[in-house]
Subunit: 491 residues, 2 copies
């Protein structure tokens, strides 16, 4: 097994190699579309199930809406349409036929042209609000709290596994409310759900904030986001929650009779996270040996590897290993005992390090004698010998410790990479030499934002929630500013 | 709430009304595509989770492959391509632009034409086997046991909610094996998994069998199926498992080095079930009052309805109801206590009957006095008074009884609707007057099968597994036959 390119050598290459070598995903024969391999999908399933649980706990139900959006629906909400029109897959025909010039080949049947083109959903506001129109008559029909797990397609020109793919998997919540405040509360609640999930399940610290107007979701009045910091100092938007105002209700004429008997447009939110989170997971925790997974997300939490000479010794180790496996499984821990004789222990060590298995237990001849095992942590790469007695309790606690430590490690990296700067020169220097989040004053205009983006490639990631007020002057225009915002280069 | 059309009056209308009124699904603005509503989706989720568990228990892993199939891949396996070419959605462009004649409208950007058209997957053999080519080199890479949960699109001309829709949700297993026998064993194993799931989870009795050549999946060497019988005497194919031979391995050149060092094509299976099972569920068990759900699949297993005059009485009932709710939840039973004051008990009774809630508990003033409740079964519509004491144990056992009884009711209907006939006249008479499965001799030719289909609309549903041998003569040609096959009209 060839070694991974190191992060220091080429971070981007390291990422691409890791995704493929750890069997998470690979590029397919279809431009920009990926194949999510079983190991990668198993991690995504854990993320999905956990988010799904949290959505249900906050009163949401799942439903499913069509993958296709008729062009006339798509163009109804102008800003949304404009935002996605440039990158959407369009279905124009519904049949193929044999090529008359080469009967083994198929061609599009020109007689099967659709009267109205269908857009493969890049996001589902349009199709969902065209449906909600029939569901909403009275305030009694509100709120509608629905989530959908689905695939979406955005025809991105430059794609990267998990981070930016033409097709990706996601969840999109779409809610309808009777009042503006209720919709804002929902938007904020879901941001909290995302932040809590990212930090306490994925061990990824995030900054919660609000996007500037130019970074908003197309069709939103306000976009809330969680922003994570990758090990190369670039930011990654890990989830967004949009307050859509009455924009979609107006576009699709969704009115309801309120408690006072008056007709009103409904208020909307939408919120989403996607397989992009896999990219955030990989780039937050992993190292030059491979994946580092928080125990909550690891398909295999513990691997047991025998180190033996000859059948007789293997048999003895098997006995101990199966007992440990049984003990750990009784505690709900997923354990693999790899007693495959074709691969050497060293190969196995490297393989499970690459795959990010949080804990490795090795058992050799001396361990048999001493009634011990060797326990190794993937995150710190430390090893220690532990008695067999109470090994299950030890490993259970160790997994919890690892979960915390991984989070704290990422947090301390993030904390040490938020730099306050007060001049544009300093800004450019920090961006160049250190990277990370830069906290600086901004004059509130799209012009300054744009200029900084064009000159440095850094964008305003967010205006943090509960941002402390502070008098200052903005980086370029020098105008007075009341608060700092967070800049970074981003994925 | 208007009453449902009765099954006797118009079975098809009853079905359509029921799906919509019970909030399972509705037609969308996109031709042939449905919206699966939260109540319907909650049932599908239970089916999905249970199947997923069974797939994993039999060694399968989930993965995800692209929704698009390049036309050149699609046409690689000729039979498969021919089978699906007539009904597939084709993506030809990747961008829209503002209509120069009407800037508020969008048109397909002619400059964004794809070099090669993409087919929205009607089934994924082509894209998956083009991927497996890179995964399979040696017999050590086999078997590959993968399942995918996905949406697929088949451009059906006549659609019906759940039964036949342009887009539907399904799972598709795709496995690769080193030997023919192993692939056949897998095909048969998955048929057993489906049959067990249908009977023991969905309470739908099924006949396991093999399709005739003309009813086979396009690209398969053998198609196994489970066939269920609906209450109108029509059959519904509830799941299929295909032995694909080496057809896809040859189309995509997937060869491996076997244990003897020789190069061989891999052997394939695929197997699928879809949201069509929702249709089977509805049509197997439900009645003129609405859905009848087996407890395993009911989003709400028990509903508690208070019957009260005034706040004071409601308060007293609340106390009892919350206690029962707590007891039942502790047993893992999903319970809704509906003390909404806006709706009358009669309205609630009808509503929960329509929704198929298996058990209803009503609590009134007299019950408070007597320390009793009224327990009603949705399946039999019977009621009885039961003491509060041990109500949780009683309800828990009752749910198990209902599950069994629903299955047995469907089984006895099915058993009384398998009719042996020995002449074509009798065949036509039974088909016309009684419906159901008809067991008859067939000469084994596609010609006779075709003639029967054209003249009666009945098709051979399957050649049952473990079919007893019996000498006979076929219905039309009068040729000698060694076994009976199962005919029926079908969905």
């Amino acid at each position: 097994m060839a070694k991974l390119t190191s992060r220091a050598e080429d971070y981007s290459k390291w990422y691409n190699e890791l995704v493929v070598k750890a069997d998470l995903a690979e590029n397919s024969g279809v431009r920009g579309c990926m194949v999510i391999k079983p190991y990668g999908y198993a991690i995504w399933e854990k993320m999905r199930d956990q988010m799904d649980k949290r959505f249900k706990e906050t009163g949401h139900e799942n439903a499913y809406f069509p993958i296709f959006i008729p062009k006339s629906y798509f163009e109804a909400e102008e800003q949304n349409a404009e935002g996605f029109a440039k990158e959407c897959a369009v279905v124009t025909h519904y049949r193929l036929k044999a090529d008359p010039e080469n009967p083994k080949k198929l061609i599009v049947d020109p007689e099967a042209k659709l009267e109205e083109e269908l857009i493969v959903r890049p996001t589902s506001e349009a199709i969902i609000w065209s449906t909600y129109k029939n569901w909403i008559q009275s305030y009694r029909d509100l709120p509608i709290l629905i989530n959908q797990w689905a695939n979406v397609v955005r025809w991105e020109m430059r794609t990267r596994l998990f981070l930016r793919t033409a097709e990706f998997l996601w969840q999109e919540g779409h809610t309808a409310h009777a009042t503006r405040q209720e919709a804002i509360d929902e938007t904020e609640q879901m941001l909290e759900v995302y932040a809590d999930f990212a930090e306490n399940f994925m061990a990824i610290p995030v900054i919660k904030g609000i996007k500037t107007a130019s970074e908003r979701f197309a069709g939103a009045d306000e976009t809330y986001c969680i922003e994570a910091l990758m090990q190369d100092g670039k930011a990654l938007q890990a989830g967004t929650s949009h307050f859509l105002g009455q924009n979609f209700a107006k576009a699709f004429d969704v009115k309801f009779t309120n408690k006072e008997g008056k007709s009103e447009y409904a208020w909307a939110t939408s919120w989403g996270t996607s397989t992009r989170l896999m990219g955030a997971l990989i780039m937050t925790h992993s190292d030059d040996l491979g994946l580092v997974l928080p125990p909550t997300l690891a398909p295999i939490q513990v691997v047991i590897v025998p180190i033996f000479k000859g059948e007789e010794q293997l048999k003895q180790i098997d006995e101990v290993a199966f007992k440990i496996q049984k003990q750990l499984r009784a505690k709900g821990i997923s354990v693999k005992y790899d007693n495959n004789e074709q691969n050497k222990p060293g190969w196995k060590f490297a393989e499970y390090e690459l795959k990010g298995v949080p804990v490795r237990i090795a058992i050799g001849a001396r361990d048999l004698e001493n009634k011990t095992v060797e326990v190794a942590r993937r995150d710190t790469l430390t090893k220690e010998t532990h008695p067999l007695e109470y090994i299950d309790i030890y490993v259970e606690e160790l997994l919890q410790t690892i979960q915390k430590d991984i989070y704290n490690k990422a947090l301390s990296y993030r904390e040490s990479h938020i730099t306050k700067v007060d001049s544009y020169d300093e800004f450019k220097k920090v961006l160049e030499e250190k990277g990370g989040f830069i906290s600086a004053h901004w004059d509130g205009t799209p012009e300054e934002e744009e200029q900084i983006k064009n000159e440095t490639k850094a964008t305003i990631r967010c205006i943090p929630l509960n941002n402390p007020l502070e008098d200052g002057v903005s980086l370029i225009s020098g105008k007075a500013s009341k608060q700092r915002v967070i800049f970074a280069k981003s994925y």
